[in-house]
Amino acid sequence: MKLQKLNKLNNKYLESIGFNWHTDIDNTSYISDEFITLTELEAESFYDATNELYDMYCTAVQHVIDNNLFHDLNIPFNLVEIIKESWENDVHWHLYGRFDLAGGIDDKPIKLIEFNADTPTALFETAIIQWAMLKFNNYDETKQFNSIYEAIGDNFKRLITLNSGIEDFQKHYEKLNWKILFSSIAGSSEEEHTTKLLQHIASEIGFKTEFSYVEDVEFSDDGISLNNELYEFWFKLVPWEDIGIQEGELAVILTELISNKKTIILNPAYTLLFQSKGMMKVLWDLFPNHPLLLETSFEPLKNKKQVEKMCFGREGANIAIVNSDNSLEIKTEGNYDNFKPIYQEYVEFPQDENGNYYQAGVFYSYEACGLGFRKGGQILDNMSKFVGHIVE
């Protein structure tokens, strides 16, 4: 693994552009000053793999809906209807997601770890911070697989044009003037600024937008509103499964609004199917032994080193790595143990000489559009560091 030390951006500057979560609670910097160097071929491979995986996921979602496998994927029952509704109609456009991948460097094959399709974070650092560090260190900015900002902007245009060509966005938008309300839950600066970054991108390309905390958003039979003004689109940085489980009434309201075509929600409800780690078992069923996949089952795998994780677990919580002789290698605790477990064949992440593990995150917005890495222990958790990259 080739690492390259860069000069860091200072915290004052990071805060001036809204990036307030630059320091972890143990006072260490969240942004690594070492960038991974990869070849253009390696970057291409990440791009191609991610596009292929997205297609496979779309096939798998259709399979889940056709065969009513929602329960297998641990989908809250009160979201099944809205998932189906959203999948039926292209206006429910998937704005962006992030694939977590093992390998891709050091001659290790790319393997799907999971797809954060509903509420992916790490957007700000991947799209903006690693690019700004590259500029700050006088590198040519083409030396990065990173067009996240532009790709998401183009995809916002597709909310209006769909597949008909984004060059007609302005023409169509002038007639529609549909507005987007952006919301996060009060109390997390990271979520708020991730949401506001997306709002910024949408505003810049011409959308009328507003921001409001979720608790202040109003829901009625007419649709979703703020201060009595209705918004056609609602972007919520709130996981769908939390809506189903913690705010069951909201799930009912949103289902009615979607079926009455009163609102369009980003990311759409069907992204919860992508998000469920149970989907990787469905993928393995549909594409057995596919080179980008790891064997995944709802039952423990026999005689294989494997990772047990929960369908909607996050940030490395409730994960167990189990050796092929069934002995436990490492385990994390957490609050997700009431979700259903899946068992995924173990693959070792690329390692640096200090023993740190690296996992790639590739953003997808209509196509693969940018790469970043996370560095940490064998199980990457909320204390893992963000690592940028340079393509040589």
Partner: protein, 207 residues
Amino acid sequence: MEKKYFLKKVSDYAIVGGMGAILITSFTGCEDKNSNGQNSQNGTINAASQKQGAFVIVEKTDNGDYKIVDEFPSTSTTIVLRENGKERILSKQEIDTLVAQESAKIDNGTSNLTNPTGMGGMSLGETLLASAAGAIIGSYIGNKLFNNQNYQSQRRTNYKSPSTYSKSVNSFNKAKSSSTSKTSSSKKSGFFGGSSRTSSSKSFFGG
């Protein structure tokens, strides 16, 4: 969903340059509204709910006890029983029978729900009544049960994980408090409210 891709190559990703200057100058407009002293009570009270029922998943453990795996508010009451790796929905008749049996046990003092020295695991009937849905499905024995001081402590132990219990209590409390509050308009808000607006923690989203 048919998806088509731009057939761009990584080497074409040179367009990133243009956005930088615009971004850095204009993005500073996204000020943090955390510290402006807004009233965090706003909107949190009006979460009216039409949910009077519950969806409950009960699991039979290896030693024959029953645990509540998950439950959340719903328009009607559904009990899912997970047993030997299979799941089925209990019929109205089965539920009625279980509640009647449990009622008799409460009367003669043998129910774990009301017995402070109740040992070991709960039966299916006890587990159902210990769930938040117990208040609904066992309404006719409510007085025997819900005024019993041992009941609250017993039901807490009947959840597979502590988070399922607190989650359940929270969502049902919300439904309860809102059913007595007046709603003067048809608008609803306050979802995911009540958290502090002043912390700046890192997100738990995104895996």
